[in-house]
Amino acid sequence: MATKKITPSLSAAEMKALAAELGVPVKEGKVTVVRDKYFVTVGKTKTAIPVGEVIDPVHVKALAGKPVSVIAVGRNIVAITGIGWKPPIIVCYIPVPDFIKGIRQDLRATILKGMVDRQIITPDLQERLLAGR
């Protein structure tokens, strides 16, 4: 569950086929990194690349400054050569063990105190929670 399979980026032929399917051209673009934010510029249009759960920033960083092939529909970037994506974890209603990572105790204690101050949690329950942790 913790290991996410990276789906390889599209090949040139796949890019061409996808562009044909969508009825748009494959364009040349350039990837840039500005203060940990990632962009692809096609012509005069600069669009943010949403790195995070789906697109690994490491892959995007490796492309910085290089020309890439881009498929865009309207303002949406559909595909960029060299960027694969990882399917997100699926947990739905099931909390899988890999997903349970805990909260720093000092932060938890602060929030707990706030809940006591707001009279949502009683001091008695606060004590039991602190003792139970």
Binding site: I55, I77, V78, P95, P97, M115, L125, G132, R133
Partner: protein, 344 residues
């Protein structure tokens, strides 16, 4: 062999609550805790052992209804944990008294549903006075007993503005991970969708609140009921884990009904077959299962969003329950369109 690691077991259809957004297809039945056809403790252990001969099962979620209504629920949990499985009990938490909690093996995970930090709001959503106080006490009992707590925040139109409060309450109560699930629609809730379903703006605000909590507390928050990107694009919420329907794949969570019937997931009333009579592999690799997962709504075929191939139209079970077909896109999309039409 099949690749499946997760399973939901609905140990009873009975529930003392009447949540306004409940998707269970039997919600209008007043089901007894133990019906004549309800699987007994030894049956549940036997069927899960049978599945493990054909699948590398790792996690079993005991759900319902309200699983804590069963007097033997701690025993069921002990059986499964003794067999080397991770067990999560999906519960409202309201019945988790210190005495009940003490019967469970330490290390049990309790997934407890929170709607905010407002007692009146919580009680109104679940339809029972005093429920909020019992849930708080329940979570404390679980923590005292050395169990893990996962907070499941379910969003509807009434509580979507309380997301941060709900997550912070979960943190205060000792939760180690969080699910942030928008309500899912069913045949019974769809007619009230305009009153019950969260609006697009509410969803965006709720996700922004959750993103802030994920950053500030390094909290693991999973948005697991699919929110199609044509309703809200997940890109700005990079610290949240967005889940998509696994459509029968390795991460699917087939669901065992209280009576031994196997279904594609907990949202669906579709029955693949009787696990007491057929093998797990036979049921999940059946033509019926393939046909259940296959349809992708026509309009999604031309979607240009990068997440198209994981979204595939949202929750097919919700479409099936609401419209009687999986060829239609998730009802949330329809709701968002209606909302947009009203605003324009």
């Amino acid at each position: 062999m099949t690749p499946h690691e997760y399973l939901v077991v609905e140990v009873t259809e009975a529930c003392p609550h009447a949540c306004v957004h409940c998707y269970n297809y039997w919600r209008e039945n007043r089901a007894p805790v133990l019906a004549p056809d309800t699987l007994r403790r030894k049956d549940i252990r036997g069927l899960i052992r049978k599945i493990r001969k054909e699948a590398p099962l790792k996690v079993v979620a005991l759900s319902g209804g309200e699983p804590l209504l069963r007097p033997d629920i701690a025993g069921i949990c002990t059986d499964l944990m003794s067999d080397g499985l991770n067990v999560a009990v999906i519960t409202s938490g309201a019945l988790l008294t210190p005495a009940r909690a003490a019967r469970f093996p330490a290390g049990t995970t309790f997934e407890i549903t929170l709607f905010g930090a407002d007692a009146a709001l919580h009680d109104r959503i679940v339809g029972r006075a005093g429920a909020f106080g019992r849930v708080i006490n329940g979570a404390v009992s679980a923590v005292e007993h050395g169990c893990s707590v996962v907070a499941s925040v379910v969003l509807n139109r009434m509580n979507a503005g309380h997301t941060r409060d709900a997550l912070e309450l979960g943190i205060a109560l000792g939760a180690d991970a969080f699910l942030l699930n928008r309500m899912n629609f069913s045949r019974l809730t769809l007619p009230q969708a305009n009153r019950l379903g969260p609006t697009v703006e509410q969803l965006k605000d709720a996700l922004a609140a959750a993103e802030a909590v994920a950053v500030e507390f390094e909290a693991s928050i999973s948005v697991s009921i699919p929110i199609p990107p044509c309703v809200v694009d997940p890109a700005p919420y990079s610290h949240l884990h967005f889940g998509w329907c696994p459509r029968g794949g390795a991460q699917a969570y087939y669901t065992l009904s209280h009576n031994g019937l196997l279904r594609p997931c907990n949202h669906s009333s579709f029955v693949l077959g009787d696990l007491r009579e057929k093998r797990f592999e036979e049921l999940v690799n059946s033509r019926e299962a393939a046909a259940f997962w296959a349809p992708v709504p026509n309009e999604c075929q031309t979607c240009a969003h990068p997440l198209r191939d994981v979204c595939l139209g949202g929750c097919p079970a919700a479409s099936d329950e609401c419209y009687g077909t999986r060829e239609r896109v998730d009802p949330l999309v329809q709701l968002a369109r209606q909302e947009a039409a009203c605003l324009s």
